[in-house]
Symmetry: C2
Subunit: 353 residues, 2 copies
């Protein structure tokens, strides 16, 4: 149970910040839409005409039209997407955090001696207020107990099973249905234009890989995330196994995102989609490449259809590490495209119609 995770390795945000109170008020953003080009038949059909949709079309045209000065050969077309808050709902808790908390009873069932030991005792109590006060070392114990110590196949099976039964409290639907339909269309549109699409997430690489192919059409090797080591060894029958280890290899958040992109992909992306300060360096790194680069950042300003948080309506952000006012100002100043969920997305989820 000894954790090799250090305080600096795992952001407190991962478990705690999402438990805070969220601003639910929101207001309209300034309507700064430029006249949009008519989209190709059915492509990006869940996007409203406006600067965000137009930015995607313009970027694809600039990099795939052979006569364009910014043409990119197909084998070099790389697009990266953050997951939580960019591809699917991240409120009121990151899905993986829900997973870790909900796995605690199963872990305790296997090791009954943990029943009366903190932090497991508190998690078993179901007392959210007490859980929000858990110390960082206690939270690390939960991560280590639920994400490591088993073979990679056992972990995959546990996540797969959980995903089939777990439900989001607001919509009472599987988490894998809470994917943003406009982003699925953006993924498909980029892939149709020979872009290799990657997820680059602060969440667990192994966690996201379990469902990424089915949900996003993204194979395991194109999921880059926070990753721990594995230990190669042998099981009861001498069969080779890989055991998930608490040692952190890649903290794929903030500066860790371009570092992770270099480790796992080995070149600078042409397009990057994010929604928080955790994505700032990835966007900045993408923007610093030559030619045409697409930098898009999702603003959650739609409390009615999803959630509103961050600089929408000028309200201070109550969470750490989300779309802060400073990030909003930087995006505007640098010409990164802010996606207003409220204004730019005609529908948010596939089940809406």
């Amino acid at each position: 149970m000894k954790s090799h995770l250090s305080r600096s390795d795992i952001s407190r945000r991962v478990l705690l910040s999402a438990m805070g109170v969220l601003p639910t008020a929101y207001a309209l953003l300034d309507a700064t839409s430029a006249p949009a080009q008519t989209p190709a038949s059915g492509q990006l059909s869940s996007w409203n005409d406006g600067p965000a949709k137009q930015a995607i079309f313009d970027f694809v045209r600039a990099t795939t039209d052979r006569s364009s000065p910014h043409y990119v050969v197909p084998e070099e077309r790389i697009a990266v997407f953050d997951q939580d808050g960019t591809l699917w709902v991240e409120h009121p808790l990151y899905t993986q955090v829900v997973y870790c908390l909900e796995r605690v009873p199963a872990v305790v069932a296997k090791k009954p001696e943990l029943k009366t030991v903190e932090p497991f005792k508190t998690v078993l109590s179901g007392n959210r207020e007490a859980m929000a006060k858990l110390s960082m070392p206690d939270l690390e114990k939960i991560l280590v107990a639920t994400l490591t110590g088993m073979t990679v196949e056992e972990f995959n099976a546990e996540v797969k099973n959980w995903m089939q039964t777990a439900r989001h409290p607001r919509w009472n639907r599987p988490y894998t249905e809470l994917i943003y339909q406009p982003m699925l269309e953006a993924l498909n549109y980029l892939r149709d234009n020979a872009y290799k699409t990657y997820i680059v997430t602060g969440g667990g690489q192994d966690f996201v890989r379990v469902y990424a192919q089915k949900v996003y059409g993204i194979p395991p090797e194109q999921v880059v995330g926070t990753a721990g080591a594995t230990k190669y060894g042998y099981g009861k029958n001498g069969e080779p196994i890989l055991i998930k280890d608490p040692k952190l290899l890649l903290n794929d958040d903030k500066a860790g995102k371009p570092e992770g992109i270099h480790l796992m992909i080995g070149r600078r992306p042409h397009a990057a989609f994010g929604n928080s300060t955790g994505d700032r360096q990835m966007l900045e790194y993408t923007a610093a490449g030559d030619g045409a680069r697409l930098k898009m950042i999702v603003l959650h300003d739609d409390a009615q259809r999803e959630y509103a948080y961050g600089p929408a309506n000028g309200l201070p952000d109550t969470r750490v590490g989300t779309f802060t006012q400073a990030l909003y100002d930087e995006a505007k100043q640098k010409g990164w495209t802010v996606i207003s969920m409220k204004n730019d997305w005609r529908r948010i989820f596939a089940f809406e119609e």
Copy 2:
């Protein structure tokens, strides 16, 4: 210049073993060829008919024929290849070791104070005998000085430049011409059958990525190798940069190979090609999957056209970490296919005809 590399992280083999004396005598292996199927037009044309060529054909048929019980859907077809000694010549020195040693004068030119400091002084002397006696910490200093401390773009440019001028001492040709033509054909044949081909090398991930696309048709993101960290920061003009750091993230050798495959690919390969004890665990891990799995291991038994080392002719192996007698026995016992360079390859290099 402080190194975070530990003794256990970097195998002494990497710099030292290749400097040893090599057995040059060899003899015929037992001819155990099974009757071969007539190959498809021109495919694997540099392979002689025999059990090795047949094993590749049989594997591809078993996993791509929809009526086969071992059919594998295209998106799950993964094939991994070791590099040194499997895809190109590794004698008398690993190419990357030559690179590091030959980069020392340029490093010293930038930092003249190193001229009289060990191990740089010894390397500058050109005295091979003295170089072979360098201590492990000294060798680490050479790796750190030549592989880290620059931006990833600077490193890529340095390797690219070096590759254009460096020549192998025996053939007086660029190292990138010393690729085994039969293996290029195997890579192409697997790719033609929807296999995604990866390099999984104990060599440096960033090093191999520089030329892998051009030489092997393998993009950077499909090169898994020994990898150090990078540090995200800002250059003189405020531009975002990634600096190569001495901290080791992945020692992609022996047990590190299946661990690296899990980190970078996220699933078990269906085919694995290697040539040394560094590939043993990768082959074992591949073999342990269900259905049809291709396990192939190159035996260097052709002193005339390339080199002879390992268990050929029953001579003891004078190198650490190559194809030992124990590995040969294990391969035979487990039914892994041994590729005899002498018997199975009609030609070895593209320039031969």
